[in-house]
């Protein structure tokens, strides 16, 4: 059994939150740069140029990339030979989240759903974090993190199709979701698609799909081909950067597919804005 100190987890989480608040990941930066070069609309090209300049300023001066610094979302794989010494892993992740958001002058954006009261002084600064745990073999903890903004989350949707809908039905559905969203989710976006499983499995898969590096290739060749097809279709919609018209509405489409019930074909579409702040550490 390997022991990991509670405080070490707190510090590691705090550090990745601080880093992601101000430093756009390299895969996102590179994808935006390529999109700027290929974009045909001069207006959208200028918008992407501003997005890249913004990333440079944020990194150099340690300023938040966006005023919407998101809810903190984690996918955590816990090795079965790991023991946290001094507290619960979940508490350590929440404590690290609070410290990171406070120390980075990031915005506290969690609130009570109906009164809309901010939770910073009651539950904690930008708490609770959204944490998905998985148990795996080994003596390490693997933490994937993303800051998830509200504008792009607001346009996301899920639906359970009959099996006959097939790939074509899914492609049409994704086009409909992105078309209706227009410029509101801050394109150029990343589109996460969860297919199969149950209703909630599809939704969680669509979220996790957004954590994959932009530019990486799906290990499943069939899904890789479907990702390319949907990307081409979405970019034909003409929405462009910030909805101003253009050829680069999406930077990438990521699919996670799961086995499902013989009666159903669940599909979830989760959208991430151009400020795709995500990272990955192993403790």
């Amino acid at each position: 059994m390997r022991e990991i100190a509670y405080e070490d987890v707190v510090k590691a989480v705090r550090d990745i939150i601080l880093h992601c608040g101000t430093d756009l990941p390299q895969d996102t930066y590179d994808a935006l740069k390529e999109a700027m070069e290929k974009e045909k609309s001069p207006v959208s090209k200028e918008v992407i140029r501003q997005i890249l300049e913004n990333a440079d300023i944020a990194k150099d001066e340690k300023r938040p990339l966006c005023q919407d610094t998101g809810l903190a979302v984690f996918f955590v794989k816990v090795g079965d030979e790991v023991k946290i010494k001094g507290g619960l892993l979940k508490d350590a992740i929440n404590e690290g989240t609070e410290q990171g958001y406070k120390d980075g002058y990031l915005r506290a954006s969690t609130c009570e759903p109906f009164t809309r009261a901010n939770l910073k002084d009651t539950v904690g600064y930008n708490l609770p974090a959204i944490i998905h745990f998985d148990l795996v073999a080994g003596d390490k903890i693997d933490i994937e993190y993303a800051a998830k903004g509200g504008g792009s989350e607001n346009v996301s949707r899920a639906r359970v199709f009959p099996p006959a809908a097939g790939k074509e039905g899914i492609i049409e559905y994704v086009k409909e979701v992105i078309s209706d969203a227009g410029g509101n989710p801050c394109p150029p976006i990343t589109v996460g698609i969860g297919i199969g499983g149950t209703f909630e499995k599809a939704a969680i898969s669509s979220k996790h799909a957004l954590f994959r590096d932009i530019g990486s290739v799906n290990e499943d060749p069939e899904m890789a081909e479907m990702e390319q097809t949907i990307l081409d279709e979405v970019n034909k919609l003409g929405i462009g950067a910030m909805g101003m018209g253009g050829t680069k509405t999406a930077l990438a489409v990521h699919i996670e597919s799961n086995p499902c019930h013989i009666a159903s074909l669940p599909v979830s579409v989760n959208v991430q804005c151009h400020s795709s702040r995500h990272t990955h550490i192993t403790i």
């Binding site: 101000t22 045909k40 609309s41 001069p42 207006v43 959208s44 200028e46 918008v47 501003q50 997005i51 300049e53 913004n54 300023i57 944020a58 001066e61 300023r63 938040p64 990339l65 966006c66 005023q67 919407d68 610094t69 002058y105 990031l106 915005r107 901010n118 903004g149 504008g151 607001n154 227009g182 410029g183 509101n184 801050c186 034909k236 919609l237 003409g238 929405i239 462009g240 910030m242 909805g243 101003m244 018209g245 253009g246 050829t247 804005c273 151009h274 400020s275």
Partner: protein, 186 residues
């Protein structure tokens, strides 16, 4: 063909009527921030004829909820929020003399019509460019409703604040025009 303009607030009808959807404008001078909660109160003041916290004539309103400032900075990151939440208030603001709004995302037909009637412009700023846009803000002062926190009304001094004309005074909409131009129909 899109043009570039450098304008200083307050804006006049002469300023706004020369602009067309797609033009890039660099705004300097004083602008005011307000989101949903502040708009609700401001519109009530106008309708009741009560004292307004700033001169609305020619004013530009920025829809923003910034991050907390770091010590020594006037403001934190300050990019635009989604504008449709202000749709029910904006026509009244324009009616009473405001000439510009800065935000992101589509507006209602009522707002577009009000832009035509009152020579108003809806500008889009780049969402997610909060660090860049925050740096164009030289000073910030809360002038009304401090209890609203990030949603308080702030007087901002900006220099070459970069925006794009979305809805002009002629009923054009860049979101529609841009999309029609680049949409690939099978």
């Amino acid at each position: 063909m899109a043009k570039e303009y450098y304008l200083t607030t307050p804006l006049t009808s002469e300023d706004t009527r020369q602009l067309k959807s797609g033009d890039i404008v660099y705004i300097s001078g004083i602008i005011y921030t307000a989101r949903d909660a502040a708009h609700k109160r401001l519109v009530e003041l106008l309708e009741k004829g009560e004292e307004f916290p700033f001169d609305i004539e020619g004013s530009v309103i920025y829809f923003v909820g910034p991050t907390p400032p770091k010590p020594g900075d006037p403001i934190g990151s300050a990019g635009p929020t989604t504008s449709y939440r202000m749709d029910s208030y904006s026509p009244t603001m324009l009616e009473y003399g405001s000439k510009g709004m800065i935000g992101k995302g589509r507006r209602s037909q009522e707002v577009k019509d009000a832009c035509k009637i009152y020579d108003g412009i809806y500008f889009g700023a780049t969402g997610g460019a909060g660090a860049l846009l925050g740096k164009k803000i030289k000073s910030a002062e809360v002038i009304a409703y401090p209890e609203l926190g990030p949603e308080a009304v702030r007087k901002l001094e900006v220099e070459n604040f970069p925006v794009t004309v979305i809805n002009d005074t002629y009923g054009n909409d860049l979101y529609q025009m841009g999309r029609e131009m680049y949409e690939v129909k099978e």
